[in-house]
Symmetry: C2
Subunit: 469 residues, 2 copies
């Protein structure tokens, strides 16, 4: 027999029972919160048609798609020589399109958009959905970056109301409060960023200006200005940006100052209708947050620019306050996600919880509940066939009450059975032998406290009560 | 913009909120039972190395594996002409091995074996695991057969005790009792089948003899005999098989008759030690089933032969009694699953729940709980900004009590908001306007009964009580 040393593809992971217990704890917590806000779960196939995926994640994203070889005689009908360049080398990109029609899901957003368009007649809008499934990316694996990882997305599509943005903030607040993690929610608005570019006189420089704002803390005002001039911004633009960088005070005060600037009060005197609209949205959102009551801090961060080519309104990012790691949650509003699939004018907003980072935060802060480890409450030791048969109905009756009970399958040495209970962290052990059988009793020992007690075999209330200690 | 008509690969499915609610109901029920028996969940990557998968499912299975194209320049370094046959045609099988190192999981058993061997030093044996994940097969899609479907496997490895077989029967019993489906559990034993072949004098004809036994009901005794003679069995063998076909009575009686036959009492006078061992196992299992108490019928079926090349002891199959469909659950014992990965002598036993068929049975018998449909308990209509701000803390407080509450995001016409509640089957609606605000009240209407009541805004106990009606 050909013996193979077992391994898994790089960048992928096995999850053992402890990992699963901890990951399920995170997912169940998040799901529970999603459900109280009226979001429903959907699932989409792991494989999507490549035509659905290609071109949605930029050129770099296309390269990171895992492609699935067509089944059957994939190469039989392909003219391979037609895919050679002048030097006879095969063009892998072009050939792979020919022999692969399907690819693995790269994120949950594009499949969601495809789902909404495909099932639009069966969906009640606004459509509030969540989705928790793995995605696959042919990224170079490194610490904390995997080729298979779960995404955990919540989105609402078909409503422009800021109530949806509020709900996402409330969801974040509730999830991390349940997980015991202090977080800071940062909010920005793409329209405000557009407004900054417009009142600077360089409406097409949104990215450069946002990057410049982001760098203030790291490189200082002088260097930011120098960089902006390198990007081709003029004195007037730099003057406006200096005003932006000098913004201070509470969120309300910042919004008021920005409103004056967007209204012609900046160094350029230019007006930005888009910027004013963005400020209206921001102001409305903070008003709703105040009315609804949110316990975690929420603040504007004008340097926040994730997914700049994608978002059209609110932008969110969530940071853990007591643990140093990148953002653990993020998202924003997109106005035309489903347009590419033939359904224009659908505005949506969503956020994605980063399960792996949240896992790292909970591990780092030791926030996992202590009782996650134990899957089984009581192990019945196997003292021989007749003793085991005596105990089987007791184990069954406990399970029927929802108590996890194991019967050790083999009449092994007691030491071995003890070790099994120990390694699985099973807190109760029943060693019920001939004496107990004669007395129609069951013995139960609390392995943590050492306390033990004998119960009549049919005193299930008594046994269950002892096990709940 | 290039508009694409959205679709998904053939043989795959989207699951909407109703599907998910129903599927989750099945999975949560099964998981809950697994947990009370002390089984823990694991997950393995969707992609396995093809070296792990190839050769494990027979030649036909190899063809049905979905292969994942190597990322990067998959074809750049491959000498394609080296894969041509005499007529210049590309050998797709050979080339695909060169350009694909990974494949999608085909079942959960081989990844489980790989997992056990890879993590053997971290595992406490006997290792009781369950796993619920999708698998992928490039089968021709047809009604009830998909290219992506969930498997739901429970196995214990590292113990030869029949207590494990008992537990699987108990698990089946409990799961289907919770799901409200009457089932029949059929049991056979591979060693008994081997014994039949041995006392027939044709130890290598296990498959032919088992098929013959299976055909008795369909084609009658004469035709079975004719077929057996075609397969090369002689008079003596036919005489023994006639004795097997004539077996009747209770399980105990059948086992006693078979024991006499295996002990030299058959028409051939041959003895089968393996057959006797199989009968010991069957007898022990039925003894345990009697001692533990199992509510569904369990019977021996000597024609049961699923996975004959694979199983070495018990073989199980579960049928729904009141709904016509193939087996909804099946499995058995395998003695050397991990040997191919370098860990010999590990005996295990497991069963797999067929989620799609169980779904069809529950649909067909109308056994899904009626309250699965409703994800949201109460919709707060949006009567305008100030009314909405008034209601937000009430919605929040209800959610904090675990009640699913939605606030309609837009101040749309009431008809539209009503329709939304109706389509989502939300049972309670709050229309709280200016009058209620002035009175510091909240109005709640039961859309099913028509009953409505007003509560003081802070009387959350009252509101929650009304919602629990």
């Amino acid at each position: 027999m050909n013996i193979q040393k077992p391994s898994i593809p790089k960048g992928t992971r096995d999850f053992g029972q402890q990992d699963m217990a901890e990951r399920n704890y995170i997912f169940e917590t998040i799901k529970g919160v999603f459900r109280t806000f009226g979001y429903s779960q959907i699932e989409t196939p792991a494989m999507e048609n490549l035509s659905t995926l290609l071109g949605k994640y930029g050129e770099e994203g296309d390269k990171l798609l895992f492609r699935v070889l067509n089944s059957g005689d994939a190469f039989g009908k392909v003219d391979l020589d037609g895919f050679r360049d002048g030097e006879g080398r095969i063009n892998s990109v072009a050939l792979s399109k020919e022999v692969c029609e399907k690819g693995l899901r790269y994120d949950l957003t594009v499949p969601f958009a495809r789902f909404v368009v495909q099932h639009q007649n069966d969906i009640s809008f606004p459509f509030k959905r969540f989705q928790i499934q793995p995605v696959w990316r042919a990224d170079r694996p490194q610490k904390g970056r995997y080729r298979e990882f779960y995404q955990c997305d919540v989105d609402v599509i078909g409503s422009k109301s800021q109530v949806n943005e509020l709900e996402l903030v409330q969801i974040v607040d509730k999830v991390f409060s349940l997980l015991g993690v202090n977080v800071l929610v940062k909010v920005n608005n793409r329209k405000v960023l557009t407004g900054f570019a417009e009142i600077s006189g360089f409406p097409d420089k949104v990215v450069d200006i946002t990057v410049a704002i982001d760098k203030l803390d790291k490189i200082g005002l002088d260097n930011v200005e120098a960089e902006m001039r390198e990007k081709g911004l003029d004195d007037r633009a730099v003057a406006v940006i200096r005003q932006i960088l000098a913004l201070s005070g509470s969120t309300e005060e910042k919004i008021a100052t920005m409103r004056a600037m967007m209204n012609g009060g900046s160094a350029s005197g230019l007006v930005s209708e888009t910027g004013l609209k963005g400020l209206d949205e921001l102001e409305e959102l903070f008003g709703l947050i105040g009315a609804a009551g949110v316990s975690c801090p929420v603040e504007t961060d004008l340097s926040l620019a994730r997914g700049l080519n994608y978002y059209t309104g609110a932008i969110f990012e969530v940071k853990a306050m007591d643990f140093s790691i990148g953002s653990i949650c993020g998202g924003g509003r997109y106005d035309n996600l489903t347009g590419i699939f033939g359904l224009p004018g659908m505005s949506g907003v969503g956020i994605s919880f980063g399960a792996d980072r949240i896992y790292d935060v909970l591990k780092g802060l030791d926030k996992f509940p202590k009782d996650l480890k134990t899957s089984t409450t009581i192990l019945f030791a196997n003292m021989g066939t007749s003793e085991m048969k005596y105990i089987l109905p007791v184990a069954k009756a406990l399970r029927d009450r929802g108590i996890a009970a194991e019967v050790y399958p083999d009449p092994a040495k007691l030491k071995k059975q003890f070790d099994y209970a120990d390694r699985k962290a099973i807190p109760f052990l029943s060693i019920t032998g001939g004496n107990e059988m004669e007395a129609l009793q069951v013995n139960v020992k609390n392995l943590v406290t050492g306390a033990q007690e004998s119960f009549a075999k049919d005193n299930l209330d008594g046994i269950a009560g002892f096990l709940s200690l």
